[in-house]
Amino acid sequence: MKQLTSLALHTFQEAVRDRILYSILVFALVLVVGSLAAEQITIGDQAKVVRSFAQSSIDIFASLIAMFLGVSLVYKELDSRTAYTILSRPLPRSRFVLGKYLGLVLTLGVQVAIMVVVYTVVMTLSQGLPPGVVYLSFGLLMLELMLLTAWATLFSCYSGPTTASFFTLAIFTIGHLADDIWTFGSAAESEVVQQTARALYWCLPNFEFFSIRTQAVHGVPVGLDRVIEVMAYGAGYTTVVLAAAVLVFQRRDLK
């Protein structure tokens, strides 16, 4: 436990030191400018357009940062050889991977929390306090980020940042199109194509499943059963991907 927190806190500290949190300033700027622009040009329900825009900005910013940090998470320690003195301690490699991962999740949590505060301030000033379901959607976004980060960690356990970025981006993109794969499969004539599409759908992540963007924008409450479903999916899938990351890293010689 002490080993885990120590690793996680140092990972967090390093991200903060690398001025990752500064990216929030860019986010705040985009948010403010974007909402002002939306107020100028939209006819109809302005408040919803602005909320939708803000929501997407947070999703995209957080996902980009998750991928950016995730792909070099483990590789960096190997490349700078700081892993030598760390892994020669009585520290199972699984704990090392988990500690680094939790540090990254902590970083993302803080990042998202600050963005949500900025969001709340901007929204309250322009249209009043956002509906509660919006905050639930940010909670689910955190779960989505945990899964995305787990994938990035898996890739960073066996390849350099370039390859890992490529694979992570691929997973990110496919994961957002998962529903289309299903639709495509169901529409196909051939039995083989249908089965393959189904199999792919079940193996690949479905990031859209975490999204309750529509409800959040329209202020429609979400049922508890949906939330529980998403939590179970996120936790289960993340655990499997992290286990794979540990398995990959376990047997690896450190150069």
Binding site: Y84, I86, L87, P90, L91, D253
Partner: protein
């Protein structure tokens, strides 16, 4: 008595490149280091010293045979709870200060916080870095980093200290410091296993030495015996190198 370090028929084959070319870095190493010994590990560049040490440190897995630390298999992380390790060239989180980095390693070795604080003070004093304790490592010279490396290896009072070329990068005072640290460890009843190219230091410090060439153990014995036979350790070393079969440049292992 359980040996501090025990290799039984240990081998290591690296696979490199797209075609997974074999490089046999270590072949059939059988060796015991007894508790309380200072044991020297010498050999030419590329002989397999670092490979052997990395197996102990849990950084590489052996591909054949066994390796144990105080009787515990080297693959088990617990084997390293009684071991301290200094890599060939130590790398740290450079944004941390010496005090912070030692605290980090202490936590990873599950040392209580008050003990970490006390040991950090003692060790930094011992390696003459007290004045720089709160300076980020980014500003340290190579020799200063080597000294921090020694501190992290000794921080948790390990019963076995494994050092890969501990004298490299140090000035004459630094080398003398390492020598006396190694002696102090032995006086405290601990075991020291180290590799070095500085044969004079090995001769004066070690109880026993192993000479490894091309991944194979060529000589093993008390320093006194080797010196008695050859005059000094350097002569013993050179005559072993002369007698050894040439190294195959393709596999970097010994030619069959």
């Amino acid at each position: 008595m359980i040996p501090a370090v025990e290799f039984v028929g240990t081998g290591k084959v690296y696979r490199t490149g797209f075609f997974m070319r074999r490089i046999e870095a270590l072949r059939d190493l059988t060796l015991r280091v007894e508790p309380g010994e200072i044991f020297g590990f010498i050999g030419p560049n590329g002989a397999g010293k670092t490979t052997t040490i990395k197996i102990l440190a849990g950084l590489h897995e052996s591909t054949s045979g066994e390796a144990r630390i105080f009787g515990v298999d080297h693959r088990d992380p617990k084997a390293r709870s009684r071991m301290g390790f200094l890599p060939e060239r130590p790398y740290f989180y450079l944004h941390l200060t010496a005090r912070e980095v030692l605290r980090f390693y202490g936590q990873l070795s599950l040392v209580p916080d008050d003990v970490i604080a006390r040991r950090t003070g003692e060790l930094l004093e011992r390696v003459e870095l007290s004045r720089f304790a709160d300076v980020p490592l980014r500003k340290y010279s190579k020799g200063m980093l080597q000294r921090v490396g020694l501190c992290q290896a000794l921080l948790h009072d390990p019963d076995l200290v494994v050092l890969d070329e501990p004298m490299s990068g140090l000035d004459p005072m630094g080398r003398a410091l390492v020598s006396s640290l190694i002696r102090e460890e032995q006086e405290a009843g601990r075991t020291v296993f180290f590799s070095s190219h500085i044969l004079h230091d090995v001769e004066t410090l070690c109880d026993r030495v192993a000479i490894i060439i091309g991944g194979q153990l060529r000589a093993l014995g008390a320093v006194e015996a080797l010196v008695a036979e050859h005059g000094n350790l350097e002569e013993a070393f050179l005559s072993e190198v002369d007698r050894s079969t040439p190294v195959d440049p393709k596999t970097l292992g010994v030619m069959a």
